[in-house]
């Protein structure tokens, strides 16, 4: 029998942000996230490609590209359990280069970002509620800039409409479900922090969409209010309890 693999993608809740401490974005958080505990319950290898603040568009595209690569590497879909944490509707991924050049208008500058997506892809994830403070050293001067200002005003006007974004998310969920089923992957989708209206396309009662009318964040706030950290994530206690719920659901529904 082949060794099983759990593949996870999603946002900071899947990443496990802040489990190690307030505002902690250390990748070591991934080893304490609820998805790691699900992987352990299956005695499976563990791939967690979540990014803090990831957009649904990013989660969709990275998952597809990663799973295609896994197939090419000879890992059979039947041996992989996929866990996707869909995130808030109003997020956007932007290219970082212009923004950084703009702030430095021709000066050479050194920039080291805490944002893993900038290191890996040269992009930043932005959202209405998160400030993205960046510390930049240029010509001996230290500057702190907030990415949210110049880029998010446009998003608020032209992109971050609830109905518009929900349609985008629903079609991604449907397409990814069909992709996974066509290839023979087992999977579960979790709503990490998204507020959804009623859907014309998605059956929220499907066992493969775990408690989709609510979210990990809402559940955690209700049952583990004392676990809440500085940047609105949860400590390991909440992750352990949430993992148990998901594991029981997977087993009860033979997912």
């Amino acid at each position: 029998m082949n060794k099983k693999t759990v593949y996870a993608n999603g946002d900071s809740f899947v990443f496990g942000m802040e489990i190690l401490g307030d505002d902690s974005r250390d990748p070591a958080n991934k080893d304490l996230s609820f998805v790691k505990k699900i992987a352990d319950s299956m005695s499976a290898d563990y791939i967690n490609n979540a990014y803090n603040s990831a957009t649904n568009e990013f989660i969709f595209r990275k998952t597809l590209i990663d799973l295609e690569k896994l197939k090419q590497d000879g890992i059979a879909p039947a041996d992989v359990f996929v866990i996707i944490g869909w995130t808030a509707l109003h997020r956007e991924e932007i290219v970082g280069k212009y923004l950084l050049d703009y702030y430095h208008a021709g000066y050479s500058y050194k920039f080291k970002s805490d944002s893993q997506e900038y290191t890996d892809f040269g992009t930043f994830f932005i959202s209405p509620s998160h400030s993205q403070k960046m510390r930049i050293v240029a010509n001996g001067t230290v500057q702190t800039i907030d990415l949210i200002g110049p880029a998010a005003e446009f998003c608020s006007m032209c992109l971050w409409d609830d109905d518009f974004q929900q349609e985008k998310l629903e079609t991604k969920i449907l397409a990814l479900q069909n992709y996974l089923e066509h290839n023979g992957y087992r999977y579960i989708f979790i709503n990490t922090c998204c507020t959804l209206g009623s859907s014309k396309l998605i059956n929220f009662d499907s066992p493969k969409l775990f408690q989709f009318n609510t979210s990990f964040f809402d559940w955690g706030k209700k049952y583990f209010p004392n676990s809440l950290k500085l940047k609105n994530h949860f400590n390991e206690t909440a992750h352990i309890a949430f993992a148990k719920l998901v594991i029981d659901h997977i087993n009860q529904n033979s997912l």
């Binding site: 595209r61 290219v95 212009y98 992109l159 349609e167 079609t171 992709y179």
Partner: protein, 256 residues
């Protein structure tokens, strides 16, 4: 022997719509009857033609509407052939309600001088398609909003780069190909504007992709039918008919 279909469903941009297939500058709905999907519909012996393409459509819109249209299952998979024309990566559809809210009580009317015909998508879906070459200015009550200034500049700065857009289109092509197969729809994907030579993630040998990495309708027609090239960079019905024949032959050969 070629399988028979009852329905042909098409989605895509202006090339799938058939813009200018009748004459220079023409964007009327009648152009759909001279677009390559219509000729393919005839060759496949279909009786129902559903062409939900829009002029200026973005890849994200094409993906969304196709998923939405085909999961409602109004067109039975076993009786339906699907044609998708993927367009230029550097396009966006924006929330029209938000953009037009800059002019109080303004609703663009495609029939009025204030609202260009490009806004069919606003009437139908409350969105607006924008690409780097489009000119969209709206003026009312001395308030002017300029899509070029407010949208194109933002997109050019923040999102219209190949290293961001190419993986986005690749993932949608992969997802939709698997989805249509899973649902039982026979289908073909073509490029309308530009080929995808730098694709890292698509399998060019997939039989559902027609020259996805090496050619596009536009590139092919420009080379093969230069005299049929229209004022706004589209092609006459002659080029569309010929392209449909190529696709029909390809579908026959791949299904043998």
């Amino acid at each position: 022997m070629q399988k028979k279909y009852k329905n042909l469903y098409a989605n895509g941009d202006s090339f799938v719509f058939g813009m200018e297939s009748i004459e220079d500058f023409s964007k009327t709905i009648e152009n759909k009857n001279f677009a390559f999907p219509k000729y393919l519909h005839d060759m496949l012996g279909c009786s129902t033609y559903v062409n939900n393409a829009y002029n200026g459509a973005s890849n994200d819109f094409i993906f969304r509407r196709t998923v939405f249209d085909l999961t409602t299952k109004k067109l039975p998979p076993e009786e339906t052939f699907v044609v998708i024309g993927w367009t230029s990566p550097h396009r966006i559809d924006v929330d029209g309600k938000g953009f037009f809210s800059q002019i109080p009580n303004f609703i663009p009317d495609p029939a009025s001088p204030e609202g260009p015909a490009a806004c069919a998508e606003f009437k139908d879906h409350q969105i607006m398609f924008v690409n780097p070459g489009i000119i969209l200015n709206f003026i009312k009550d001395n308030i002017k909003i300029d899509a070029n200034k407010e949208i194109i500049e933002w997109c050019a700065k923040y999102i219209w780069t190949d290293n961001l857009q190419v993986p986005l289109i690749e993932s949608k092509i992969i997802a939709l190909d698997h989805m249509l197969t899973q649902l039982g729809y026979d289908h073909i994907f073509v490029n309308t504007v530009i080929n995808l030579p730098y694709t890292d993630h698509l399998d060019p040998s997939c039989k559902n992709f027609y020259k996805i990495e090496s050619d596009s309708f536009y590139q092919w027609a420009l080379k093969t039918y230069p005299a049929e090239h229209r004022a706004w960079n589209h092609f006459s019905f002659l080029a569309h008919k010929s392209y449909a024949e190529i696709l029909f032959n390809y579908i026959q050969s791949r299904d043998e």
